[in-house]
Amino acid sequence: MDCCEFRENYSDYTDGLLDPIRKADARAHLRACEVCRRFDAAFRTGIATLRSLPHMDVSHGFGSRLRSRLRRELATRGPAVAHWSGAFGTVLLIAAMGFAGWDLVGAARGRPGLGVAHAAAAVRRTAPVSWRAAAGAQVRRVGDTLPTAMDAFHPLQSLLMETDPVDPVVGLTHQRYDVSVVWGGQ
């Protein structure tokens, strides 16, 4: 191996990527060539020095500056997650309100009601548990009997809470609990 070849393969040599024969060639060249030996020593000293340079940390005001920029970002656009969940929740809310209106009108005309509470409870089951917990509701396992006293107002109220895009971080979002919510301590 000559100097030119050694330099061409220097990166692989440094990272230990040369096959055993090439590696032995490179070592033999290093032993024989003082110029390449000095080159190799310079590189290793330089890298050691570079890595020993003090690591810097962000300045004192970094966090507050970033936070205010993020607030502005949130105010103008909102994070995608909040945007989409908010939009999805709004659609659900409109659908539930339409359904409730249709159900109540039908009931007033003598048609048997389909049960707003049960429809809304089904919608609630799709919401993340953190939202339900954020609403301050009691949580029960799915399969428990829903309270019969739930009227049309309560499910809509809880839906409003569930579409709130601000999650106050209640936790356990990773653990999907099969729960349904009973609103207002009923």
């Binding site: 220097y10 990166s11 340079l53 962000v58 300045s59 970033l66 656009r77 994070p79 999650d167």
Partner: protein, 222 residues
């Protein structure tokens, strides 16, 4: 948004009534115990504080990477802010089968490259470079190691400055690869992902960067 500053972890408990009516308390896992992917998922699930954890994990790493690439601390910090703004804005589009760190470094690398390109077109860069060197020359003396001899201290300081200058003298596309490998310890594959180059290009650039780096330093070590 949570209170200042950006902090790691978040200890929360949730009280859940089980089917028998007894109250069970669950401790939410601290963000600090979660992997990057889990923290990202927590944020996408609507837990805003998960973003604080990402900032806490990456702010210093990205600052050092960008600083070594652009060579200007103040500007590097601005660019780190920009990285986090972009992460916040586009996290929902992040492909979660990939590593978050690679994505964050990709954004940082692109911003650093743009910065260098803008500078090369802007005559102000000359002034900034002169000012930076002036600041370095007028920096108060730091008493690094009182047990070392003065000529050793001088030699060490000289070597550090030399090494920093050697990095800044590397061509931009070589420098990014060099810093990612030598200082950030990224694998060739990660560097290829971050820079958007193929493995062959990464290897070739790294070899050239290492050769240039050694060639700049070698005459000063004799």
């Amino acid at each position: 948004m949570a209170g200042l500053p950006f902090q790691r972890g978040c200890d929360v408990t949730l009280a859940v009534k089980d089917g028998l009516g007894s109250l069970r308390q669950f401790a939410a896992p601290s963000f600090a115990d979660l992997t990057d992917a889990q923290v990202v998922q927590a944020f996408l699930d609507g837990r805003e504080r998960a973003f604080d954890e990402l900032v806490a994990r990456y702010q210093a790493r990205l600052l050092n990477f960008i600083y070594r690439t652009v060579g200007d601390r103040e500007r590097a910090e601005d660019l780190v802010q920009e990285v986090f703004i972009r992460i916040y804005r586009h996290l929902h589009r992040f492909d979660q089968s990939k590593k978050f760190s690679t994505w964050a470094y990709t954004i940082a690398s692109n911003l650093a490259k743009n910065e260098l390109r803008n500078r090369s077109r802007n005559p102000l860069v000359l002034f900034q470079t002169i000012r930076r060197h002036w600041e370095a020359d007028h920096r108060p003396l730091q008493f690094e190691d009182s047990s070392s001899r003065p000529d050793d201290l001088f030699h060490k300081r000289h070597l550090r400055e030399l090494v920093e200058q050697s990095v800044s003298r590397l061509p931009e596309h070589h420098r990014v690869v060099f810093v990612l490998r030598e200082l950030e310890g990224k694998t060739y594959e990660e560097i290829a992902d971050i820079t958007g180059c193929n493995l062959g290009t990464v290897k070739s650039r790294l070899n050239r960067a290492r050769n240039n780096f050694a060639a700049i330093i070698a005459p000063h070590l004799d």
